[in-house]
């Protein structure tokens, strides 16, 4: 164990997701060795993001203003909302340029073994948005895994009875590739989720 500032830094770093004690040590010693200006820049970037960035008061996307760029854009369809787990998922969907509605960030997915239930997610805030925003349709774009599915089912059961249409994005084949190169599991899933034509 180290003492003083080095140990403080190691402890702070190991609180970050995906950083174990070993990696934290390596990062701490790396920072110790870097030029003063570089270390300052890192510290300032951290302060800056906390100072200037916040979460959108409506959809919990990251934002520099009270409402994020999507919630404050009048050209976006307010009646159509895409529900995602994390702000980074918004950027993935935006890159498609196919979605013209607004977003709602849950802040994760339901995972009881990690102590995450509906109360730990921004689900009640979504319900509260329904009426004032005149939401007619919700697309649940949580991750295609067990937790993402559970979250989608939970939301559908909650919101469906309120007269709002709820759908789930489908998981399928990568486009543009040859069928023969798709892995068996993805292809098997795509067969399961086939559409009538």
């Amino acid at each position: 164990m180290f003492t003083g500032p080095v140990q403080d830094l190691v402890e702070e770093l190991s609180k970050l997701p995906g950083i174990g004690p070993k990696t934290a040590q390596r990062l701490a010693f790396h920072i110790l060795k870097t030029e003063d200006v570089d270390a300052k820049r890192l510290a300032e970037a951290i302060l800056e993001v906390k100072d200037k960035m916040r979460f959108c008061g409506k959809c919990f996307n990251v934002s520099t203003t009270e409402l994020c760029e999507f919630c404050s854009d009048p050209r976006r369809d307010a009646t159509l909302v895409c529900v995602v787990e994390e702000p980074r998922d918004i950027w993935a969907i935006e890159k498609t340029a196919e979605f013209r509605g607004r977003y709602h960030v849950l802040g994760g997915a339901i995972s009881p073994i990690d102590g995450i239930g509906p109360d730990q997610l921004h689900i009640s805030e979504l319900i509260e948005r329904l009426e004032p925003d005149g939401i007619k349709e919700i697309i649940v774009a949580t991750n295609p895994n067990v937790e993402g599915d559970a979250t989608a089912i939970y939301i559908a059961r909650l919101i469906g009875p309120l007269g709002v249409e709820v759908s789930r994005i489908s998981s399928g084949l990568p486009v543009g590739g040859d069928l023969e190169y798709a892995d068996e599991v993805t292809l098997g899933r795509a067969l399961e989720g086939r559409r009538r034509m």
Partner: protein, 368 residues
């Protein structure tokens, strides 16, 4: 398919050794502790990228060394295939098929497929239900890749549902998502059960036939799927409904105990011999014959699915069988593609046309 030669470097007690194999039967003989099982383990590792007896792959690396290598030349669908498997002491395996790195472990068997029957397989008859569930689940994956994903999802859902049940004691709102997990448990659980029933339906006639070939037909085996949540499963369509009803009716008990008390994770493959449960009533040799017929049936299913015989690896199988069964098995092995079998002595083993590979302290001393 067949393996023609295997080169071992620092694998278990082998320092450096090349071993040649012939089509048909290859018999590996040697005293206890000389490296017979190690050799089968090496061939098996080429097909599953893992070990049937070592929890950690580091155990495969010779003491004091950093990495083990298994290189093999063989034929798959009449085409030559070259395999390189590297096992690191620090953990992990890497395989190259014809010099191309394999991306996914589950694709390991695409080049060489092996069926291993080892003394540990006695657990199929004698052990707990989890051994038999795993047996069915593993065959399901061999026949249908998606089955592996479905079982993985089922296990994940089960863990999450148990997480809800455990939290219910300390949190009033924890049960809010129980319906959601029930729905997922039914969907994923039904897929797992259907896959197992599918496997069993194909396995049963073959296993019965194989058992008759080895053990004769006066004591007939029986194989039945036992689901605690349904006394009978009339057809696949009824699985979700039955499962849903059972999970609903055991909900209060589940909440009380903090765990999912009924479902596919508690099911069993019941093995009978002459009308009684083999686990409690059959003799050791009878239990081994039953386990062997299940593995042979697996061999037959894999052969049918791939359109070619997998390599049969038989570890120590002859020792507990009587002369008649031993002879029957030897006969059967001659008509099942390539086999590599181990024994402590050739005596008592009917061996007309087979190569004998004698091992002694991690070296091949005779090869004829």
């Amino acid at each position: 398919m067949e393996v023609v030669s295997v080169e071992l470097t620092d694998f278990r007690n082998y320092e450096q050794q090349t071993i040649g194999f012939q089509p048909g039967l290859n018999l590996v003989v040697g005293l206890n502790g000389q490296g017979k099982t190690n050799l089968l383990e090496a061939i098996h590792a080429l097909s599953v990228m893992g070990s049937h007896r070592a929890g950690q792959s580091a155990a495969l690396v010779r003491h004091g060394q950093e990495r083990a290598l298994v290189r093999a030349d063989g034929f798959s669908r009449s085409r030559p295939v070259h395999l390189d498997l590297e096992v690191k002491r620090s953990g992990g395996m890497r395989m190259l098929i014809n010099k191309v790195p394999l991306e996914r472990t589950r694709d390991a068997g695409t080049a060489l497929a092996t069926i291993l029957f080892s003394p540990e397989d006695l657990a199929l008859t004698k052990g707990g239900p989890e051994e038999r569930r795993r047996f069915l689940d593993q065959i399901a994956v061999r026949l249908r890749p998606l089955a592996g994903q479905q079982r993985h999802e089922f296990e994940r859902v089960l863990r999450q549902r148990n997480g809800v049940l455990k939290a219910a004691h300390s949190s009033a709102t924890a049960l809010a998502t129980l319906d959601t997990w029930d729905e997922q448990l039914v969907r994923t659980g039904a897929a797992v059960v259907q896959a197992r029933l599918d496997v069993l339906a194909r396995l049963r006639p073959t296993a019965e036939k194989r058992h008759a070939e080895v053990a004769g037909s006066d004591r007939v085996p029986g194989f039945a799927y036992l689901a605690g949540w349904a006394p009978e499963i009339p057809d696949y369509e009824s699985i979700p409904g039955l499962l849903e009803a059972a999970i609903k009716s055991s909900r209060s008990k589940d909440v009380e105990r903090g765990v999912t008390t009924s479902g596919p994770h508690r099911d069993d493959l019941e093995i009978m011999l002459a009308g009684v449960e083999a686990r409690t009533f059959a003799s050791q040799g009878e239990q081994r014959s039953l386990a062997l017929s299940l593995r042979l049936a697996e061999r037959d299913l894999v052969a049918e699915a791939r359109g070619e015989d997998p390599i049969l690896l038989l570890d120590d199988v002859f020792s507990e069988l009587d002369d008649t069964r031993r002879e029957k098995l030897a006969e059967l092995v001659f008509s099942s593609g390539q086999t590599v079998a181990t024994a402590t002595a050739t005596a008592g083993i009917p061996l007309d046309a087979g190569r004998v590979i004698a091992v002694d302290g991690g070296r091949v001393t005779r090869d004829a």
